[in-house]
Amino acid sequence: MSTKKGNMRRMILSGGVATLIALGMLGAARADITSDQAAAILIFPKLVVDTSAKLGPATDSEIQITNTSNSVIAARCFLINTSSYCSNSPVDNPIACTAEGVANKIPAPNGGCDTGASCIQQWTENDFRMTLTKRQPVSWKVSEGRLSDFPLSSASSVPGAQTDPWIGELRCVEVDPTTFSPTAGFNPINNGAGDLKGEATIISADKTTGKVDARKYNGIGIQASGGNNGDDILNIGGPAAEYTGCPNVIIVDHLFDDANVSTGNSTTGTVRTDLTLTPCGANLNLQIPNTVTLQFLVFNEFEQRFSTSTRITCSKEIQLSNIDTRPTSSDNPASIFNVNVQGTFAGQTRIRPVVDTANGVGDTILAVSEEFWDCDSGPIPSGATVGRCSAAANTHFQGARDLGDIMVMPGDNPQ
């Protein structure tokens, strides 16, 4: 009898354990990136510095980061340069370029390259530390950083962008303020999911016309999900998750490129949408760029479905109409992201990274979208250029992956 009881107890216990482990796996696989709650990893996929107006209007970015908890926290941050430079640039004076600039034959140094040169993307990072006291916000211009006047922490210092023009991203990881090892958050209200939040504002200004443009988005947060072993390999989702997983699908509602939208007061003008996509996983230690293949499903207002695909390495900003065509403006009317193909104004695009188990750091992505509106049709002061009215928005997401992503940080302590 007692053996029977024991066996039954063992079976119940074993079953319970299996169920709990399965539930745990499910929980670990859930995607919980967030742009509206504090988190332990904070990512700004797109930042721009172009103070001398080489690639467009004079532009700089402002970063705001806050400790939302009542405890002192610290962060290790990585300012990643994803700018592209002409292959024939002098080493000490790189000429910035864009794929669109080269394709549209814009002369160097205003986005294109001299004949024969190609536009090559960088992926280099500068890392820095910061310590934030209770509820402390901090802000800086990306062009300058905050080297000497970091409030309340003389040990904290933020470098400026490595070059100008500069396009890149910023990643910050919450760490223990004493050991600077990765850690969960300290705020019991969100169950230790992390204490960092932030916003990025990309601002353009023109001394000649006085025109100002600004767009703002929330930093994308990846929340801590329980045990963190404190090493520099961050498991984002998956069976050994230290952080919640990145999404299975990104959803972007957008207006199709070149839709001529008329609003009240007879304001008209066309719109285009750019996506900035960055892989969730990254090996910052070995500086190995991550490549992800993306499948796009595009729905118009007739529920008609189209699809296309592309591949990104490191990070990519791309106009929707350039995803399935060459990056020349003349090809845009033939894109499935263009109103000339779809006919309707609104579209919904679902972006699904292709599962790639051979990829060492994971296959999911994060994104932010930007709209650029043609201001010329409205009563803009003379001299203003096209596309000076912009807005940014965080994207939506859905689902999770069984396999997680990995972010590998370079060692922080001298060996």
């Binding site: 806050t66 939040k197 919904q348």
Partner: protein, 431 residues
């Protein structure tokens, strides 16, 4: 003995697994929380404007494969007398207009608030081309308020399958645009309806798994620039010299020499200006001093922030607007704390300096960046909101021409149901 050991091992393993699972589930973001990045069963656009200068482009989409139907409500938060500020003697209208939208599999749709959308045959590349989601009425000129959409079934009873998402783009007549995501309240698919199916309880939390819809956040959090702080970027890249903002001599240069041979005299540049004399420094004048008159302030490309808040509880059936008194705690970059409070009656859209003249201001905080936490008072309904930042060049006279707006969503922390014991409810009119 061996059995006991094995059992003990299993117990330990089981307990560990329970602990791991509990930690994992507790530490993960709560799937019941209000969200701006996932689909929901109620979507709320807190700031919809058509005032003759700014209009709003609304995008709603069905992110699921089954068809989705929604009852939508424009709620007009404009003041009875638009020429006077809202207050006890000039209440907000709080009129609602409802309409239905019907979306097929994965269908996006859009309309402009001032125009609505008709059900008619439209030409290729025109605004109305596509499956019309239904007749969507335009809002009146002068409308300022919110749009709420609740997912329903064919009988117009609420359903909670979380298929709705949305965005709003505020566009000014000069082309400036500002965009934010709709706030989605997620519905609990396993929950039943109330006896009155049109009463929606916002009480779904991890601690209340039988609740119906996401409880509103207990605290809203947002980072902002200290009100009227000089713009770091426009100051560098644009034209940014001190001038009067507002008042009777709006736009007049107002800098004075803070040092140098001409100390105290008006100057024209914002750095070591030659007209201040050797090593002189030309700075913005003290805001309290002339020459800015009639309430104008002497500022350098000030950054301002507007905050829009709506109560979570609303009784649209009985036209009973909700009111919530909220407290603000503000931290500057030196961890100094300030506070303020205000009451959200139906709909609040105010610049931060209208909520409190000093607590958010650069002259008080002294640092560029600030962190603000918004908490409804005990027992008060929760609130949801969106913020909008304005950047401008130096001329205060031509704000509409020389400024740019950027909207952004607020963060949430905790929930009202668990944190404060408040159950917000929305009561829809009978269909």
């Amino acid at each position: 003995m061996r059995m006991t050991k094995r059992n003990r091992g299993l117990w330990v393993l089981g307990t560990t697994a329970i602990g791991v699972c509990a930690l994992a589930s507790a530490a993960s973001a709560n799937p019941t929380d209000a969200t701006t990045e996932q689909g929901g069963s109620i979507v709320i656009l807190p700031k919809v404007i058509w005032d003759g200068t700014r209009d709003t482009i609304i995008q709603i989409a069905n992110i699921g494969n089954p068809v989705a139907q929604a009852r939508c409500f424009y709620i007009d938060g404009g003041a009875l007398n638009p020429d006077l500020p809202p207050g006890p003697t000039n209440p907000r209208l709080w009129n609602e207009t409802d309409f239905n939208v019907f979306l097929t599999k994965q269908q996006p749709t859009q309309w402009v608030a001032s125009k609505g959308r008709r059900v008619e045959v439209d030409s290729f590349k025109s605004a109305g081309y596509g499956l019309d989601p239904g007749l969507i009425p335009p809002v009146r000129k002068g409308f300022m308020g919110e749009l709420k959409c609740v997912q329903v079934d064919d009988s117009e009873a609420p359903v909670r399958s979380n298929q709705l998402k949305g965005e709003a783009t505020l566009r000014r007549s000069d082309g400036d645009v500002s965009k934010y995501n709709a706030i989605a309240l997620r519905g609990n698919p396993g929950a039943g309806n109330n006896d009155n199916p049109n009463q929606l309880n916002l009480d779904w939390t991890q601690n209340n798994p039988g609740g119906q819809y996401s409880a509103c956040p207990d605290t809203l959090i947002f980072d902002h620039v200290a009100y009227d702080a000089p713009d770091l970027v426009v100051g560098q890249l644009g034209t940014c010299s001190p001038s009067c903002f507002g008042g009777t001599n709006d736009g007049t240069a107002c800098a004075v020499c803070a040092s140098g041979a001409n100390q105290g005299k008006t100057c024209t540049a914002d750095t070591s200006a030659t007209d201040c004399g050797a090593a002189g420094l030309c700075t913005a004048e003290d805001p309290k001093n002339t020459p800015c008159t009639g309430g104008g302030k002497c500022l350098e490309c000030p950054v301002t922030t507007n905050l829009t808040l709506v109560p979570c509880s609303e009784d649209i059936e009985n036209q009973l607007p909700s009111s919530s008194t909220v407290s603000f705690t503000i931290w500057d970059e030196f961890e100094r704390r300030f506070s303020a409070s205000t009451t959200v009656n139906c709909w609040l859209s105010a610049d931060l300096n209208q909520i409190h003249p000093n607590a958010f201001s650069f002259s008080t905080l002294g640092t560029f960046s600030a962190h603000t936490r918004i908490t409804p008072n005990p027992g008060a309904p929760g609130v949801l909101g969106v913020a909008e930042e304005t950047r401008r060049d130096n001329s205060g006279t031509a704000e509409a021409k020389l400024s740019a707006t950027a909207a952004f969503n607020l963060d949430g922390e905790g929930n009202r149901y668990d944190g404060s014991g408040v159950t917000d409810t929305m009561i829809l009119p009978l269909p």
